[in-house]
């Protein structure tokens, strides 16, 4: 009626080539798009980078002169108090937010230097599990997972159906969950569906924004297991934002701790810790150790916490 014309950024053969080999019953081609060797050799080249990034919302500055890198194949965990800018950092890395100043690089090339089409195409290499899963209310689980495939590929409905069912199996959900509405799901199921949706496009890098927040310890364990399993099976780079030190212990290759800007001096870096998960548990920095132990830093700080 309206002469609908659709642009597709990936054709079927490209998409099929990007599917993971061992777990897929549908698509047998080898995965060609990932220059990652995680299990052997450990290619640790930089996949993403923030250089001197500032980000403000109105008059409130959340990130100041932040520089960090995400290496290929690693699981980088961002921790820190609420409001320190962890989620903003991941959204900047994923290109969902623009920095107020500074530079973001994907594969060594500034994001700002890419055309909108390039940016959109490159963003398809990223999967994002949102804090509240952010499932589309107007669609059922199946349609949620199929969304990215329908929007960006020329796969047939049969192929899409097989991929969706595969992803549901991968996150431990039965095929009949596909017919349910997001409002009918528990918190843990929502996170798993969110993960299945994030993985549907076979991303190279997966972002997990507080994947275990609000879940019981058993379900947190299940989600942590899925993060590790996804990383191992699909050889992705993972960026995890969390407050949960158990998750840090279970999934992290490298940990970065951010500190709220309001509690720092003008010349202090917002990154107060960068190291392995073992190192963070033995850190002597009071700001780090108090966070790891879940204790208040000083009596003075506790006063202010109560006020704010």
């Amino acid at each position: 009626m309206f002469g609908l014309k659709f642009s597709r950024t990936r054709n079927t053969s490209d998409f099929l080539a990007a599917q993971p080999p061992p777990s897929s019953r549908v698509l047998r081609s080898s995965r060609t798009t990932l220059p990652i060797e995680i299990t052997a050799g450990r290619d640790r080249s930089v996949a993403m980078e923030l250089n001197g990034v500032h980000r403000s919302f109105g008059n409130q500055t959340v990130l100041r002169d932040l520089s960090l890198e995400v290496r290929r194949g690693e699981t980088l965990v961002l921790i820190g108090e609420s409001g320190c800018g962890k989620s903003v950092t991941t959204k900047l890395l994923a290109g969902l937010l623009e920095p107020s100043s500074g530079e973001i690089q994907w594969d060594g090339r500034p994001v700002s230097a890419r055309s909108p089409i390039e940016k959109r195409r490159d963003r398809l290499r990223l999967g994002y599990l949102f804090q509240g899963a952010a499932l589309f209310d107007s669609m059922n689980v199946y349609e949620n997972i199929a969304f990215g495939l329908r929007e960006n590929t020329t796969l047939t409905e049969t192929q899409i159906r097989e991929i969706v069912l595969e992803r549901l199996r991968e996150v431990g959900l039965a095929p009949n969950v596909g017919n349910k509405s997001p409002s009918d799901l528990s918190g843990g199921m929502k996170k798993r569906v969110g993960l299945a949706r994030a993985l549907a496009m076979s991303p190279d890098i997966v972002f997990y924004d507080e994947p275990t927040t609000g879940l019981d310890p058993i379900m947190s364990g299940v989600i942590d297991h899925l993060i590790v399993q996804t990383q191992q099976r699909r050889q992705v780079t993972s960026v995890v934002v969390t407050h949960d030190m158990t998750t840090v212990r279970r999934v992290a290759d490298r940990v970065i701790m951010l500190y709220p800007l309001a509690k720092l001096g003008n010349d202090e870096s917002q990154i107060v810790f960068m190291g392995t998960s073992d190192e963070i548990f033995h850190s002597t920095d009071p700001r780090v150790s108090s966070f790891v132990r879940g204790e208040l830093e000083t009596p003075e700080r506790s006063d202010n916490e109560g006020c704010a």
Partner: protein, 335 residues
């Protein structure tokens, strides 16, 4: 916008609650006194007995001084101009998007149904009653002048030229505009819009374009429906209750309502539909955080759409009258 508002709110409360104490004490909201943004409303109310503000803070934040009415008026004007500018920028983005990629049919059809078909009952009921009320009020006046036989011209002319398009637009703004703003606002608050971007979809293309097209395309039909039902209501009251001749009713209707009136009424309604969709979607995208933000976006969508409808109606009334005069001067038939 949300953060800006919160900060301003906090400063406003600071001014009106704590000014007497500001000169006497110095207070650091956090111990190193580096972040004025930490003056949140909760903080100020809870600790107002101890609350003070450092002179350095006032020096660095001139906003913390009580505004004069001129300051306040200036800020309102600047905010309104920014808001209108933002609306046009948003409309520009929508136009770019419509020129490059039209919405998919499986996305568009449900929205056409929602906007068009589901608005039919409310448009019919309101149209019917407006037509009937118009007949009652007009008959009373016309009968005093012994012109009651011409009631059809009054009812038809009023409904086709003004009330039909405006009525359908107001119904659409109330029923659909608020709903669009609330829906998009909720999607923004729950990160669904970010999820769209993460999944490679353009939110303007996916959310705004189909809603714009639905409002733009469905409102002419709703307008004609409202006019038709309203005319029927007016005819029913005039002929069945007041005893006006049905023949005279339609004769005078035909004499005073031209094709030009019908076409301009429909075109007018399309501009109303476009305005409603753009305003509602823009309010949704600029929605503040939480349930309060969504509620405010829905209310603002309706109020702004209503004002836009009336303003557009005024402008278009002037334009159509000039156009009519021009056509008549050129000898082009308009009936």
């Amino acid at each position: 916008m949300g953060l800006e508002f919160t900060r301003n709110l906090s400063v406003w409360r600071l001014r009106h609650i704590d000014l007497p104490k500001l000169a006497r004490f110095r207070y650091s909201p956090i111990k190193n006194d580096r972040s004025p943004e930490f003056f949140t409303p909760t903080f100020i109310i809870t600790h107002r007995s101890e609350m003070t503000l450092s002179t350095s803070f006032i020096a660095q934040n001139p906003d913390s001084v009580d505004p004069t009415p001129i300051h306040w008026f200036g800020r309102v004007i600047v905010d309104q101009i920014s808001s209108v500018g933002d609306l046009f920028t948003f409309f520009g983005a929508l136009c770019r998007c419509l020129m490059t990629r039209l919405p998919r049919s499986r996305v568009l059809w449900p929205i056409l149904y929602e906007v068009g078909v589901q608005s039919v009952p409310v448009v019919c009921v309101t149209g019917l009653f407006i037509g009937m009320v118009l007949a009652v009020q007009s008959y009373d006046t016309l009968s005093q002048l012994h012109f009651q036989s011409q009631i059809g011209s009054v009812i038809n002319g009023t409904l086709v030229k003004e009330l039909g398009p405006v009525l359908a637009a107001v119904m659409l703004a109330g029923r659909v505009g608020s709903s669009i703003a609330a829906e998009i606002g909720t999607m923004k608050v729950s990160e669904q819009i970010d999820a769209l971007k993460a999944l490679g979809a353009d939110p303007v293309s996916y959310l705004v374009a189909p809603r714009f097209l639905a409002c733009f395309l469905m409102i002419p039909a709703l307008t004609m429906l409202a006019e038709g039902v309203g005319i029927f209501g007016g005819w029913f009251v005039s002929t069945q209750i007041y005893g006006v001749s049905s023949h005279l009713f339609w004769t005078f209707s035909d004499r005073f309502v031209t094709a030009f009136d019908v076409i301009t009424g429909v075109l007018k309604s399309m501009s109303f539909g476009a305005a409603i969709a753009v305003i509602a979607c823009q309010r949704g995208f600029r929605c503040g955080s939480g349930a309060e933000g969504v509620g405010r976006a829905a209310t603002e969508a309706f109020v702004s759409s209503f004002i836009a409808i009336l303003a557009l109606d005024f402008v278009l009334a002037l334009v159509t009258i000039q156009l009519l005069k021009l056509l008549l001067a050129l000898g082009i038939p308009v009936s």
